[in-house]
Structure formats: C-alpha cells, structure tokens
Symmetry: C2
Subunit: 499 residues, 2 copies
C-alpha cells in the first residue's frame, strides 16, 4: 500500500510527459510526487531505499521466478555477501570485474588479514562449493539458485531499478554432463523469461544470442533478453551464460564419469534482472497519469471509492457499509482489494490511485448503492461499466482480462512498431537516427570478424549490436551484404541504442 495514502498533503502527480521527456517522466513516477517506489535521499550515492509499493511488486517477481526455477529442479541456496579476493582472480577473464568491486578491508579498528569483496555476482563464490559437493555423473544435472539477494558494483551512473551500486539479484547456477544439456537449459531459461516477463508482466522482449565481442566475463557465449524503453533504447532484462568449461576448470567443478575419469562439468548461469524487469513494467506500461500495472502484479488490484456528499450522512453511512461488504466479498474471492475510506475527496482519490497504477476502480455512490449497482473503471483506457453488485466478482475477472489485454496490445504494438529493417549502412543510420527502437540489418558475422563492423555502426549511430534471436533468427535476403563491410551477410543483426 502506498504509505498512508491520502494523508500526505503536498501535491502529487506528474508534470513531465512520457512521450516528450521519458527520462524526467521516469524520475517523477519513481519518486515523491509519483508512485513513491523508492527514495534516493539515502545518504550513500547509488544506494536506494525500496518503498512498500515497489517492494511488494519486486517480491512478487522474485516469487514467480522462484516457482519457475524450482519447478525446473533448482535447489535454493544462500551464499555469503562477501567473496575472498583470490576467488575473483581465479578465472582470468572474470577477473575483469575487479575494477568495479567494493572492498571490505576493516572490522572495527582492525585491518582484515585478507580483504573481501562485496559480491558483484555469484560465480566465484558458488563454484568452489560445487567443486566440493559434486562427485559423480549421477549427481548431474546439478541445479542451484539464490534469490532475494543484492549485489554490488561501483557503477558510475545510476538510475532507480535500471542501474545501481547495490541491486536486486537472482541467479541460477547449473552443471551438466554434456554441452547439449547446457544448451537445452538455455532454452528453458528463455521459456522462464517468457512465462514471467511476457506472459505475466506483458513486457515484450527478444532473447538474443549476443555477439562474441559482448559476452559475460568468462563465458563462451552469452544470451540475453532485451526489451525496448519508451525512448527507444534497448534494456537488457536477463542474461544466460554458456560458461563451457571455463569456471569448471578454474574451480575444479569435476565429476567422475561412467568411465571412471574426472571431467569438468558444462556450466550455465541464468540471471533474470529483477530490477530491470520491474523498470520495464514502469517504463513500458506507464502513462502520463502514472503507473499502469498488470492485474497479477498490482499490490492493490481494485480500489473501492465511496462517493459521498457532505450533509448527507445517512446516505454516506449506507454507502460505506455496502463498500465494506464488497471489500470483504472480494478479499474472500482472493483479490487484493482496498477500500479507501479516507477523508479526501473522490477526485483526489481517483488521481492518487491512478498514479499508483491500480488496475480497477470501483465507484459506489448513494443512488447506485440503493439500486444494487456499482461502476467499474479500468486504469488502462478509462473505460467504465455499470455492473450489478451480485455480479461483481465475475465482472472483476472480466475487466481484469480487459486491462491485461490492453496493456499487452499497447506494449506489443509499441515494440513491433519500433522494430525496423535496413538494407544499407545509410538506411541503418537513418533508421536509428529517425526512429526509436530496434533496426535489423544484414551483417557479416557474430564472431571476431564482425566486431570492427559493429564498431563502425556504433561510431556512426551510437547503436550497439544486440545479436541474433535464439528463436527464429531471421535469414538475410539472398545475396544480401553486410551493411558495414559489404561482405556476404551471414545473418541479420539487431541494432539499438542501449540504456
């Protein structure tokens, strides 16, 4: 619940327009005059306070991923928040995290014998333990995860839920006997993103295989989901890394195979970006009145607002009594419902709950109460329906479907409408300059050869090469050439500016 709704006297509401100034709109919607999702006034730069309205939703996103990965056989662990320095150095590419790491060096007035890092990600703390636990091929696949933790990186620029020095983390870490098994897991991770980010939250994304020059430090291959923000920038909302044998060799994650030989396991790790997915919900679905929340995510799914008039206390009492009854009925039916019986005016309440993104509003006035009717209003398109009190539960279910369908329609329309094609460097440059979003273009290679070509595009447009969809990668037209170097195009690369 927004803290003490209705009791705050200062003016709330957004002044920025999302279409005109997305950045300012986003800041406002997250902050004090908006939906009060977080507070940036905590006195350590880049570290934010998560407020209840946001925390409840972030928690739900965590829960959904927990359900998904446990259904897929992952066991929950909790590892320490700190990592010995030596671990970070063990895998030589992964050691690239060192410049971004926070160091704990003292306890009280004493210097620690060995400084420890605040976890930037879990690989180097988890795999040494896997090395101790995993014995034989019969132990594989080994699937573990940790959830509801935070990680720490010294980011230069921070934005709430997009980039922080401390941010919410969720990571699975799996070990397989064969590379085929590892690749199959990457498709399962993609399916989990589909189940949560798209089906539950209506955040459209493409699950890319990244180019070789844009891999996680220590991975053989990186796969990542990108959504599109209202300013057209791609925003990475998950990543899965095919770690091959790199960490298994560094940390002795070995299993005794049927032939009696010790072999390194094939490893993958999957990290849905809990913050980033939430940021996408805010950014993609929100409008100039505030948040717009998918029904399943909203901490309050329906708010009941009694419409009463001064001087008519008898009628008001009846309305309120009826409203209380409806609240109980809906709670019993399993809906997150709230009766706002605060002293504010109905208009104030309408605005406030719209700002918070509550999907449905139930309006109940004296005349309606007499007639056994009430009005249901949707947050998305402001459509209203009059329904019989006795049919409220059914009506909520129906209107919730309409809300979600409208959110999905808009998000999908925006994503598709801003995904263009280009056949030449000039077209690509123009498309990225004029349009927002993704531009697809024939391209030479995802390997080392393509890096210079991608660099040339980046210099001309600031757009980066996102990769190729894992599912249904587009084929270049016959005879198509790389837009950058003119060599025969082996693939269709997606480009976009990035957050």
């Amino acid at each position: 619940m927004p803290e003490q709704p209705g009791k705050q006297e200062e003016k709330r509401g957004l002044t920025a327009r999302k279409a005109e100034n997305f950045s300012e709109w986003y800041t406002q919607v997250c902050g004090e005059q908006g939906a009060r999702l977080c507070d940036l006034r905590y006195d350590v730069q880049g570290f934010i306070v998560h407020r209840p309205w946001a925390f409840r939703m972030l928690r739900r996103i965590y829960e959904w991923f927990e359900e998904e990965v446990e259904r897929d056989g992952h066991e929950p662990y909790l590892f320490p928040a700190v990592i010995p320095e030596q671990n970070l150095l063990e895998e030589k590419e992964h050691a690239g995290f060192m410049p971004d790491v926070f160091w704990v060096t003292h306890a009280g007035v004493e210097e620690l014998e060995r400084r420890v890092a605040l976890r930037p990600t879990g690989e180097t703390q988890i795999y040494p333990m896997y090395g101790l636990w995993i014995r034989s091929y019969a132990d594989l696949p080994w699937k573990g995860y940790q959830s509801r933790i935070t990680t720490f990186r010294n980011e230069k620029q921070t934005r709430p839920f997009l980039r922080g020095r401390e941010f919410m983390f969720f990571e699975t870490h799996d070990v397989f006997r064969t590379h085929e098994d590892a690749l199959a897991q990457i498709r399962k991770d993609m399916a989990m993103m589909d189940a949560v980010a798209w089906r539950k939250l209506k955040v459209p994304f493409v699950f890319f295989r990244r180019p070789q020059w844009d891999k996680f430090k220590g991975a053989d291959d990186t796969y990542a989901s990108d959504t599109m923000l209202p300013d057209g920038r791609r925003c990475q909302i998950s990543s899965t890394h095919d770690l091959g044998h790199n960490f298994a060799r560094a940390f002795d994650v070995l299993f005794k195979d049927e032939d009696g030989k010790d072999k390194p396991g094939f490893q993958t790790c999957f990290g849905p970006g809990i913050w980033r997915i939430f940021a996408a919900v805010i950014a993609v679905h929100g409008d100039d009145q505030g948040l717009v929340l998918p029904f399943g995510l909203a901490p309050v799914q329906a708010v009941i607002i009694p419409i009463t008039f001064a001087g008519k206390e008898d009628a008001a009492a009846k309305v309120l009594a009826k409203a209380r009854g409806l609240e109980q009925d809906l709670l019993k039916a399993g809906y997150a419902v709230k009766l706002d019986d605060s002293a504010q005016t109905p208009g104030f309440k309408f605005n406030q709950w719209e700002l918070q993104g509550v999907p449905l509003r139930i309006e109940l006035g004296p005349k309606e109460a007499e007639q056994g009717m009430l009005t249901l209003a949707r947050r998305t398109d402001r459509g209203k329906v009059k329904v019989k009190e006795s049919e409220l539960v059914k009506a909520i279910e129906e209107q919730a479907r309409l809300v979600d369908a409208e959110i999905e329609r808009r998000a999908s329309g925006y994503f598709k409408g801003n995904t263009k094609d280009a056949r030449s460097f000039g077209e690509l440059k123009r498309a990225i300059g004029e349009h927002r979003g993704f531009v697809r273009a024939p391209f030479c290679s995802m390997g080392k050869d393509g890096e210079a070509c991608a660099e040339k595009v980046k210099e001309a447009t600031t757009a980066v090469a996102c990769g190729v969809p894992l599912d249904k990668p587009e084929k270049p037209a016959q005879g198509a050439k790389c837009v950058s170097c003119g060599k025969p195009a082996g693939l269709v690369m997606w480009f976009a500016k990035t957050v």
Copy 2:
C-alpha cells in the same frame, strides 16, 4: 530436498550423543555427516553457506513472521546493506556498535571519500528516512519492516545459526504517538513470537523484560525471548526494544501533533532471530538419529519408501506404481511428500530420512500393496500404524498431530523440568552448578542497584540475570530477601548460563 539423497556414497550418521556432548552433536547434525544444513568450508571465516534443506526451513520461518507483521499493519521495505559512518555515531549509546562493524573503504583501486559500514542492525539507516516521511500524528502508528536480509558483526566466536559474522535478519521498526501505544506493541511482538516459535515450532521460551544493565545500545528497555538449549544454556531468540525518544531525537523522527507542535515519536523495534529460532528447533527437538522436525516446518513432511526385493521385479513394479499414485494423492492434498525411488536399500533410506528429520515415513511392500494397506512410521517416537490406502490422507493428518504433540510434550517437559527455584545464594549456586537451565531466585532490583548483585552471581556461577517475565512475573515470597545482597526482594529474577 537434501542434495541428491542416496547418491552420496560416504558414510552419514551421527556418532556424538546429544545428552553427552551437545556441542559435538550439534556440529555433526549441521554438517556433512548430518543433515547438511550448512557448509563451513566457505573461505571467509564466520561466513557460512546455507544449504537447501536448511534454507527451505529458514525461508518458511521468514514467511511466517512476514505474515504476522503484515497482518499487524507493517509495510515491507528494503534498505541498503551499507550505512554511512556518521549515522552510526548519531545516537551516542548506539555508537557502541562501532567496534564490531565491518567497513567498506574502497571501490576498485580507489579509496571511497567516506567509508561505509556493512549494516550491523537497521535503526540508523531507517530512522533518518522515517524522519523524512512522517509528518503528522495522523501518520502514526507508522509500522515498517525489512525481511530476508543479512547483517554483519565481527563476532569472535561463531557457530552455525547461533552466531555468525553474517546472519539472517528480520526487523520491524515502529513509531507511535504515545508510550502506551509503544508498550502495547511490545505485547503484540510477544504474541507473534508465541504464534511462530511456540505454536508452530514448539520452541518453548520466556519473554523477559531484561535488567537495565543488559539493554540494547540506545534502548530505554529491552525485552527478549529466551529458550533453553540441551546443555541448559539460555539462548536469546528474539528481542524488542523500547527506544523511547532516544533515536527519534537523534534522527528527527518528529510528527506534528494536534496542538501544532513537533514532537518526537515513541519508537520500538522487534527482531525475531530467524537463525536462532532455527537453531533452537535443531537443538531442542533433535535426537541421536538426527533432526526432528515439526510437521509444518519440514521441507518433506512424509517420505514414501517402497520396500522391494531383488529378483521380484514384477512385484517391485507394482509397488512402485502404487507408490507413485500415493505421492500424487498426497501432493494434491497439499502435503510436501517425496517418493524415494533411488537405488539404495530401504534401511539406508530409513536412516537418511531420519537424519533429515522427516516427520512421517510411508512404507509400502508387495504384500501391503496387494492388500491396499501401508505402514506409517513417526519420526518422533518411532511408533507405527497400518492404515488403509484409502484412508491415507486422514491418517497423515492424524499422525502429523501426534508428531507435533510429542515434540511439544518433550520440549515443554525439558523446559519445565529444568527450571528450578532457589531461596539463597548457596541454593542458587548449587542449582546452577548441578542442574541445567533456569534458576529463579528472589532479587533486589532490575535497576542500577541490582547490577552489582547480578555481577556477584555471575562471578560465582557464570550465570547471567535474564530478567523478569513480561507476562505473569512471579512475586517473591513475603519477606524474601535478595539472594545476593540480602535486601528485601522486589522481584523474582531468572538466571541461566548463556550461549
């Protein structure tokens, strides 16, 4: 689930006896040869890895407290893991935490302009924000909490789930208009401990008001729950602090009262010890075969073990098919059930699942399968009943009640049986020397005057003064004298050695 049960080849099982060497028994039950609750081989001293069997239970304890405090109107927050140094110094007694604090001083190769502490507890990070958010008396009571976080203190000696340099944390932070409201909250906190630790987990405890010389740094009064470990030591499993105006003044947690004046709020904070409560479950209920788990806590509530014989594959297939059906029935009925169809012998499986503390075992052999019968065995007293397959769900419910009743009977018997009375210093000394547990004795004062008396007891016995029960404090007999100083006894003090 215990990782890959049945696949580990090395010998598991406890060799230490709980009654003879509790400390060694506890180490064994937590570790590799026991229930694999944690791993101490993580390479930072005092920081442990939580393994799935423990993590699932700790998570459930968290969930229960989350339900309790949200039902009581607390909103969930998440604050940063780090605290600016200045905050820790703001409340002068609370600054006593400084020597135990870990410091983050560097990011990459750069020294931070201002070092920050890893959170030792939340007061000094939360109250400055409360100061910004709370405006008027109408905002009160203000109730917030954070859960599933860890805190950090540089403890010298560490034990799994009892004392760690990083440990699981849960804290509520409330602000009230009057001291009466604050005191009423302390009783609510006591009720929440009763609901979770006692009613769900069968951990007996007394909710004490602590003596003045044993308060939280910065509190006017500290209340704390103490249970009793098998070695007779008291173990604090929760604390609630009456913070008075101390932090409100230090951090400007002010509200505008009806009279228009800015006033500091009365503050309380409540911290059930998630780790400690779990440690008590392990220690109090466990036996020489391993864990003994209350039914509602167990990650697996019933394990199905098919009893099959080599050379009788047809019968074995029938048993297994039936076992799979039963597993589905019980899952549908909402029970956490697991069919152990691994290749190990039934005897091996019996031992393993007893070690893990699974409350009920379902044994199903060929003859029973033919007859539509099965055997249910209780972990607690090893009692067995034969039940009809068709009545399994009902039988599980009944046997679960018996398991919990037996756990409660034992725990309560142990606690009461080891709580004695003493009328003189000599009796007190003898009682603490000869018996384990609590000893009650007439005592002069909970205030400053009593401190020297308590010190004298401590020197002679190593026992500490735990305080006086908030609920139903005992009255000293007429004319009773303080066992320590001989002055008239104002109260009955509880003493015990402490972990």
